[in-house]
Amino acid sequence: MFGRILVANRGEIAVRIMRTAREMGIETVAVYSEADAGALHVLSADQAVCLGEPDPAASYLNIGKIIEAARSTGAEAIHPGYGFLAENPAFARAVDEAGLVFIGPPAEVMAKLGDKTEARRLMAHSGVPIIPGLTEPETDPDRLNAAAAELGYPVLVKAAAGGGGKGMRVVAAPADLDEAARTCASEALRAFGDGAVYLEKYLDRPRHVEIQVLADAHGHCLHLFERECSVQRRHQKIIEETPSPALDDDLRQRMGAAAVAAAQAAGYVNAGTVEFLLDQTGNFYFLEVNTRLQVEHPVTEMITGLDLVRRQIDIAAGLPLPFTQEQVSRRGHAIECRIYAEDPANGFMPSPGPVLYARQPSGPGLRYDTGIRTGSQVPVHYDPILGKLIAWAEDRPAAIDRLIRGLEECAVLGVRTPVEFLIDVLKSPEFRAGRTHTHFIDEHFPSWQPGSEENRNMLLGFAADELTGVKNVSGPAAGPAEQGWPSPWQTLSAWDLAR
């Protein structure tokens, strides 16, 4: 087993990976940009290496600097997390060539699956159902127009190298196709270094259902059931759950088998996710393979009792999977929601800035994976995820109630967050009934605005905050404290003791 690993990521996922590594007796190395000095993932590591300027190209996307950091600290393996270089075959190859272990699939498998058109061809040949559409990238506007006309509008423009909802545009009419293709290509070039795009038939209100797979280096491949990730905004998942309310045991078994077939066709090794769209009649279509740990992996951990990061590290170290498909069981229901720095009342626009106060929800059946703390900065340069709250319970209604309880304990002040939007979604009859699909938010919450339930308490809270003034003692408030005391931070404890 490795003695030391480098985590080439930031935020909640870096912290989460380091926790498992520590439990396995493996030392951790953090990397960080100048925008992340003092960030939680830096505090969580045994060693930390500053990569340079905030710009991702100079830091978290800089392959050379990251490999040099691993070398200089004596790390033996690199975990890429999700995003950044996680699905970049050139990075996996460079790690390999540096004599280090990449904790993820082999570079060539990643390259094959990362090219969405090649992946579609591979799946089609392996008997995995695919969505009708182009099987080759296309940049010529005329040929794109012709292909779209043949498929019939609406169509989906997708970046060949895309993922995580990035680099995707729905086009409803021919007039919008050119600009959509250009924007999509430009985003893809900037985000993934590859501007190739292709077209797909657009399905009407499908569900997004994905299957987690695990494959070791000894030919052993199994699945860990599904995750339903239909609730999305701007094509990005915000609520994920397992089991899916739409699957029965037969469909679950068939989708699981298709995912294992897809992984085996690609020669997959390590943890991966096979994404499908599930239409309203129970047909499922291959979407893509995410060749990395997913943001939403915790719901699978909660219902199977497995630690996916531990499994990833074990597989990367060459160990065989210690269980068979038959020994994997699921129990209960788990739901995750993502908490970004964003304004749900304003098109989910990012809301970077300082976190003035953060409080973690806690309690039985709740898990909060976060990368921030009071005093953190949410930099403008990166994906603004703050954390993920996961609830698991005996059944779906109890898991929903628990997640609402957790969100009602969750406080992040200073930046806007979707916490109250999420509470409203979870409380809605449509969500409770499990009738989710990828246009759920557009259909049921098209122009959500915050409610006024707590306005009276907020006004009273504002008055109480003004009335109490300087806050330096615990206990019943007693009017504003006098001004000009020296250094209450330092002597608070002593005052407390003296009361």
Partner: protein, 176 residues
Amino acid sequence: MDLRVKLDDETHEISAVPLDSRGRTAVDIAGEQASLSVTIVSPNHLHLEVDGRGTDIFTARSPEGTWIWSRGRARLLQDADKAARRGGNGPVGRIPDKVTPPTPATVVRLMAEVGQQVEAGQPLVVVSAMKMETTLSAPYAGTVTAVNTQPEARVNPGEILVEIEPAATGGDEEES
């Protein structure tokens, strides 16, 4: 103590008597009375008992106002009189009716040039922030009088990237 407090787009009149030695007070919000008991749990955490019901409140002060949290919901509240003096004009985070980015961003593409006639809603600039592209469109029809940026430039909210002279009135775009 009398306060005029801005919450979302409304202003509320609040008056309260000073806390007694046990942290109790009476508060009047727009004529509605509440008996309130306040415990300071930590610098950012107050516990209120409002007419006998307990509730937690988290608070954090910033230059724009005070963030107040209650049961999963958070708002930036402002002292309306102070906000007026500062010239503040509404909550943080709304898209202004000028061609300016909503967050610090990088210019990806420019689709406007000086002298060009533009329609309301016509895309003028594409900016990128946090790996997401946003198109800034013309807030009204008119003629482009200045383009104050270029591709790859780092731009900030408040910077007018494209100036437009309105078609009908011919007024100063800075006041539109």
